[in-house]
Symmetry: C2
């Protein structure tokens, strides 16, 4: 298929929270405690909440920036492309890139909203989570219901409250919950604990997908403090295999057969190996480990529960039949540094050369629609939804890479080590 | 190719050290401090050294045992198949399984001999390492030079001594050094530190392969203490991707272009994804991370330095062209629980159905010979080296699974959790 004829729904993008996100959304008694943006002496904008200071990391908002200016330095809003934080600019960028639909993960709260959960005042924490979700559903997604898959933050500290929030947002049309890939790594009960059962039940009842994004354990994949940063960049996606194995062998899938999980930004090319491995593990070891999937293989169980996601993954496309044609969805990853926006359509068309149209459509948009109960065509004709049609709507928009350098932004230079990155990210 | 026509050299097997290994091999002043086998009240045999007690874990010596009796309990020598620890019985088991050649990793010292390195008396530690290496080269491999790829333990605490030991064993014909996949995880300088340069230089000078086995960081891949043990079993091989990334992006390959590394028991099916990932990481990020491979891609550099290894990996065989036909070697993993001995030949023949003979030969034995400077045909005619020919020599040998249960061995039963395993393994 030609790039212009693709229809693209991305199941993994990111939004940079705008400074006015919480304005008018919290009870008056929390006015002083609300998360807010502060400009630091170095000119960067940071979010503050509950004593924590969370910079907007440059690498998380590099859309449109020349690769020479990628880096991990904290940055200011005016150094970002406005599509990072402005919904109207975002939609225009999506159209210019040919992207019909998008699901946007949070930035400063962390993928599992652990920044909010850390507040000792749980009334405050709950108000902030709900305010964020309402903003995300009503403002971000609600402004363009044909363009966004709604996603909610979890209530991380209380499974009953978490379940209630899932039911509340589901009533507003939200079928995706962002969550951590490993609650045990955050000091919470693991996936193997009954603790979470009320949440799993709510997800099943409300047809909500548990979307676990790489890096959502709160830990980077670090081999050594002096390792080059390239090591971490390489390992992050495949590291989600830990969550895949953790959940596949857990009691969760056995007790909640309706639960569905997305391995967001985890890549797909390694999945066929992984499925062989789990089937062989089952064959060689189940007699002493006590695993029991009835008459089925772990790989079959995997395909019933897991959506795998890729940005650019020629091996995964080649092996799509071994992964499962219903289990693969494309991602854009705008505005992160792994995205090929605005040329992601061309990247996908090239990687999928020779793939039958019907199969490519499943990976590029149909699976995303079904898994996330999302129907853009209720609002927009399909013929107006292709890459070519969307781009025509934004013909003339400047999508060339340009420097957003205000004079302050400094490249990290050579020899960036993991230790320094971890320090900056977690400072 | 039919199973009987294969020639098999395994680049990853394991030996259980026999109780008399050190007899007569240490200076008299170390007689009391030598590693020794002790029978515990529960009937199991354990190695003791330097205050540490290291059980012979049942799961590491299950060759010939019914799968119902796999488990992690400590075991006794008479509960193991003698091929685990007796060189003559081992060779007969290899022949009965059709396996021509084998490289045997250590058991109780740990893959990087960290048990020996822990001794405060470094003269003692060095004597023990050298005694082990001499035993391995002279007794274990030396008894059947046509059947074993010699492998040495490292001197982990001193790079100059480590280099000297590499040169000493190389002079005796040894071209493989077992090592840790992550020295930083053991509290040592990382792969990114100049500390190890004398060792790397010796490896290059003497044409010795750095063989890093999964699990050699001293850490199991544990998601949560209450995770089922199946999680760890699934993740162990692919976890070596961390070492692959750590070394690929390190200064080691740039400063020592002759160095060669084997990712032992790491599997192969995930490698094509990994190579795509490192090339994309290089393309997207090198301008700010400062990585520089000259005009080459990271995937090309990988193929110059890394040998990937598989037990049973149909996806890896299918994708052999993307991995590199010179970069794949077969493993038997006798007597561990992931081995299909005595039917590993049939398993490989089935997985490689349709693969041209010349390509299968490279994976089943030719690459092993070249990477490890091993030539069994200097001792044994090729026509006497096939699976069929070797099996004919041991026709009638009992290789059926049988219970080695002395009445004491207890199956772990259902619901084995990672925490309990870690406790037993590290107790």
């Amino acid at each position: 298929m030609q790039a212009e004829d693709l229809i693209l729904i991305s199941v993994d993008d990111h939004l940079i929270e705008p400074p006015d996100l919480f304005a008018g959304r919290l009870p008056a008694r929390f006015a002083d405690a609300a998360p807010r943006v502060v400009r630091r002496p170095d000119g960067s904008d940071v979010w503050t909440f509950n004593g924590a200071v969370i910079p907007n990391i440059g690498l998380n908002a590099v859309a449109g920036r020349p690769k020479e200016e990628y880096g991990v330095e904290p940055t200011a809003f005016e150094e970002m492309r406005p599509g990072c934080y402005d919904i109207h600019e975002r939609v225009r960028d999506m159209s210019a890139g040919g992207v019909l639909g998008s699901m946007c993960f949070p930035s400063f709260p962390g993928f599992s909203a652990r920044v909010f959960a850390a507040a000792a005042d749980k009334d405050l924490a709950l108000s902030v989570v709900r305010a964020y979700n309402d903003w995300h559903l009503d403002e971000w997604c609600g402004s363009y219901p044909d363009r966004f898959i709604p996603m909610a933050l979890p209530v991380l500290w209380d499974p009953e409250l978490a379940a209630a929030e899932v039911r509340r947002v589901a009533a507003k049309g939200c079928h995706s919950l962002t969550f951590t890939e490993n609650p045990a790594a955050l000091g919470l009960p693991s996936f193997h604990d009954e603790h979470w059962d009320p949440l799993w039940q709510a997800l099943v009842d409300e047809d909500v997908v548990l979307s676990i994004h790489l890096g959502s354990s709160g830990k980077l994949s670090v081999t050594a403090p002096d390792a080059p940063v390239d090591v971490m960049i390489t390992l992050q996606p495949m590291n989600i295999c830990q969550a895949a194995a953790d959940l596949l062998w857990s009691r969760v899938l056995k007790k909640f057969p309706g639960i569905r999980i997305a391995l967001s930004e985890g890549g797909t090319g390694w999945i066929p190996y992984f499925l062989d491995r789990v089937d062989r593990t089952y064959d060689m070891h189940r007699r002493w480990t006590g695993q029991d999937f009835g008459g089925r293989l772990p790989s079959e169980v995997f395909r019933e529960h897991f959506l795998t996601c890729f940005i650019a993954d020629p091996v995964g496309i080649q092996l799509r039949g071994l992964i499962g044609l219903d289990n693969i969805a494309w991602e854009c990853d705008y505005p992160h540094s792994d995205s090929s926006w605005p040329y992601a359509a061309e990247e996908l068309a090239e990687a999928a050369a020779g793939v039958p149209d019907a199969e490519l459509n499943r990976m590029s948009f149909e699976n995303a629609m079904r898994w996330y109960s999302f129907d853009p065509f209720a609002y927009r004709a399909r013929e107006r939804s292709t890459v070519g049609a969307l781009r025509a709507e934004e013909a003339g928009r400047d999508v060339s890479t340009r420097s957003y350098d205000s004079g302050r932004f400094v490249r990290s230079g050579t020899g960036v080590e993991l230790g320094s990155l971890v320090e900056q990210v977690t400072a």
